[in-house]
Symmetry: C2
Subunit: 312 residues, 2 copies
């Protein structure tokens, strides 16, 4: 059975036709400046997918949408999303008037987690927690195969769990959030600080002497080549992320954690280090039901496939 997934982003809106958990066709539009225009565009994108694939709306199980920001999945309203300029937009109701099918909405991080859980790295697990290690730390929680979004579907903000009271300032206003230590942004900060204190580190060469060229790969790649300072950066980063993972293991005991986002490209090199760190602790990990730690597999398609999974 087909479903359509819509991935609403700050730069573009992607619409995909999904069958058996795989994307079989997709199109993309630059995000329009107002919600009215953007939704008009989404209607066109959906119709285009249907026509191009010789399908009618009756061949579609439903339409799922993932949107950034504060979203009420129960009422189908995008409450507040400054980076696409949407404010209290009842997108589900609006689309229902155009398409006679099931339509569902959720937060983009939750949707990506659902996609990975159903059709990606989490497919063989019944419960999982996805952490997306990018500019921030996004997250989604799957319990018994279903999204857990918290009260009024506004929870599941695992990146804003403080792991170091009084620590680094976070964009959310608190100090010491997991996001301030485990995002790619945080990794870059830790890397730059370490480089400033060691002018002989191989990381300087890696970025051609230009500290502004440091990214989430710098420390990892130089650590693999044996640079001591880079290894310290990686160990520090791993320790923070692992502490966050153990916190969540103690709360949820999911069968697996799934890492997505830029930093997760380190794959097994990263997950092996995380597991080794966690194994040191008996209570939180070793003698409790063990949670695996794996890397996401759907990549950029997670948003579309996950949105479609809302109605699959």
């Amino acid at each position: 059975m087909y479903a359509i997934g819509i991935d609403i982003g700050g730069m573009s809106i992607k619409a995909g036709l999904v069958k058996d958990g795989k994307m079989v066709d997709c199109n993309r539009k630059t995000t329009a400046p107002t919600s009215d225009l953007a939704i008009e565009g989404i209607v066109e994108q959906i119709n285009e997918l249907l026509v191009k694939n010789s399908l009618s709306i009756k061949d579609i199980r439903g339409i799922g949408l993932g949107a950034p920001g504060l979203v009420s999945s129960e009422s189908g309203v995008v409450e507040y999303c400054p980076n696409i300029n949407w404010n209290k937009v009842p997108v589900v109701d609006i689309l229902r008037k155009k398409f006679d099918t099931e339509i569902k909405l959720s937060n983009d991080a939750n949707v990506a987690a659902l996609g990975e859980a159903r059709f990606g790295a989490g497919a063989k697990f019944n419960s999982s927690i996805m952490l997306t290690l990018g500019t921030g730390v996004g997250s989604g929680i799957i319990i018994d195969g279903k999204l857990f979004e918290g009260g009024e579907s506004k929870g599941s903000e695992l990146g804003h769990m403080v792991i170091k009271v009084g620590g680094e300032k976070c964009g959310c206003g608190r100090r010491g959030c997991l996001e301030s230590y485990a995002s790619a942004t945080a990794l870059i900060r830790i890397t730059k600080n370490a480089m400033s204190e060691d002018e002989k580190s191989a990381m300087w060469q890696f970025v051609g002497g230009d500290i502004d060229k440091v990214d989430g790969r710098t420390a990892f790649e130089c650590a693999k080549s044996g640079d001591g300072t880079a290894n310290k950066v990686v160990d520090e980063y791993v320790s923070y992320l692992a502490e966050g993972i153990m916190n969540l293991a103690n709360i949820f005991r999911p069968e697996t954690f799934i890492l997505g986002g830029g930093v997760s490209a380190q794959g097994k090199y990263l997950t092996d280090k995380l597991k080794a760190y966690c194994e040191k602790y008996e209570y939180g990990y070793k003698y409790a039901p063990k949670s695996d730690i794996v890397t996401a597999t759907l990549g950029n398609d997670a948003g579309i496939i996950g949105a479609a999974a809302l109605v699959l």
Copy 2:
């Protein structure tokens, strides 16, 4: 309808007859040294309650048990509980052979949370998180009126969420757990440290000059009388507990937090301070669905009433 709740503790085992969420009769036995003897005692306690109240097992909706330590509620087995010397005890199966009624088991902290949620401070809320501020920090999570225990019913260990990486050593082996900052034990440590640094604090008078007499009330009572150092201790304690509460609000967005255990006896004085701290933060609390913070009302009966609630 009646139900029987069994509260298994390190010192004593209490059995109570519960009707309409209230305890109408109870008895107590010193905890026997082996699980066989203890379960024999529980059978006697149950029969005693039935006979004394002229009831047969058919008048009883079921029997619920709350046990400390590692418990598998799905299989009805107390896996590991060193302080009562139980190890892989299938207590539910054993009792089923004696009583033809529904029998359920859960962890004691979860059971207390369920009791408060159904018949105590959480009765008007659909979701709640209970934190028991005693020797450690116990916890229970109620989502949509039901206990959420995590994978293999071994999660919900909110006291072992690290809020300060590299901080105080916790009994679980990690450093910086909420329990190491928000338990009564932690409050006593913070109080003693502050007293050591201020020999003029009124807290010295409060404990008759004997620092070993410091307890969870010392700082709170002296803060109320205006002692500056005591106020600092209370503010520090409140900040740690509030950071933990905001973390959990960001994850679960429960309708309310319920505080139990010794420190919660401070009632509104404590909850007002916690709310004032949380209100300072927009993201975690102010602009998100608001979670109330209230004090538990069932006191020592929460264990029995909560155990009975497992079958009600």
